[in-house]
Symmetry: C2
Subunit: 224 residues, 2 copies
């Protein structure tokens, strides 16, 4: 760890996806703070780091957002707007990595994109232009992320700033996954919609966590 290392705040970090990501980042030696609507409960349920010595704090979502250099949103779609409203001031000027998938129960196997076109675009509008929103981790099965197994699933990263996508791609790599630039934030619709398709496939083919791999001979990009 260096002094320059960014602090990652995982908002909703007691949920399946948030806890799994926090745990993987902690194990990779990154600094993580977990935000929760109920920090007392969170302190008990939050994923524990396998190694010692890393910082693990569980605080309120607002405190976590205020402390973090990079703020990762891992809350259900139904809680996205309220959560972003709560942390809006705290994340001004920061990089926000939104993982929201617009699943609308009970029809979670049916693609139901929001009027904005994508949950990530909705996040950007709710947070305002001072915040740089990228989106990622839509298609990774949380139960596989929680286990320490190798995951056969790529992570597409969307955002209007290439530099911001590159920062998020470092987090993807630290979580043990391959990340790929997926283009502007509006393209997040593709990965968000794909999640409903993956849930449909899990049910139809009795798969425990279908994933998606991009195929082709990829060049390595400078500095990534």
């Amino acid at each position: 760890m260096t002094a320059q290392q960014p602090l990652i705040a995982v908002i909703g970090g007691t949920g399946k996806l948030g806890a799994a990501l926090a745990r993987r980042w902690l194990n990779a030696g990154l600094d993580v703070v977990i935000g929760s609507r109920d920090p007392t409960r969170a302190a008990h349920t939050a994923a524990r780091p396998a190694r010692t010595g890393q910082s693990l704090r569980v605080v309120s979502n607002q405190e976590a957002a205020a402390a973090g250099d990079i703020v990762v949103i891992t809350v259900p779609y139904a809680a996205q707007a309220d959560t972003l409203g709560d942390i809006r001031i705290a994340v001004a000027g920061k990089l926000v990595v939104d993982t929201t998938v617009p699943l609308v129960p009970p029809k979670v196997m049916r693609v139901q994109l929001p009027p904005e076109g994508a949950a990530a675009v909705r996040a950007q509008r709710l947070l305002g232009e001072s915040v740089t929103v990228v989106s990622a981790f839509h298609n990774v099965p949380a139960q596989r992320l929680a286990a320490d197994e190798r995951i056969n699933c790529d992570v597409l990263v969307f955002g209007d700033s290439r530099e911001a996508r590159t920062r998020a791609l470092r987090l993807v790599k630290a979580a043990g996954l391959r990340g790929l630039h997926g283009g502007p934030l509006v393209n997040s619709a593709a990965a968000e919609a794909l999640t409903s398709v993956l849930i449909f496939i899990n049910k139809t083919y009795a798969v425990d966590g279908a994933g998606v791999l991009l195929t082709g001979q990829f060049t390595e990009l400078d500095g990534e």
Copy 2:
């Protein structure tokens, strides 16, 4: 070939995707008729079957649609509405496999789904309820389909009727690809949007035709 074998009409069959699919189906021993806005030109440019003995006719789009038992639409997005208007009467009661991807030049690397949510849903609305629309083949690089190589890309098939999806999945298999049920027609948005992401990836990573594979342990479905 049996008398029961359906005749496949490929509308826009002189385009890259249509010609490649027609060629693969002909080589698999299926009966194919090619439709074109300009049949005289089409007769020269249409892909030729590698084996002899199969039926290959190039006619107008309307004639092809009238003759076909299954009608496959392979026209650019800008031509989708006009083409479907031309064949609307001819396809009444039939299975239509729409391959339309809503690419809006010049920003083809940017997801721009239509107001209906998906080009496939638009096709269903334009053709009316007497027609059974499924969608497929959105993500397969046409240049790889045109070559006789193995393609590292799955085909997601969308449609509100499982029986109709299953019929389309047989065509996917005959074209040498793995097809998977992707859920209701609205879910087509996922694969349609993904095409813009794949084009972005091709450019960003200098890939010649990135594709997408679904990962997981899939059960085999009865009769497929």
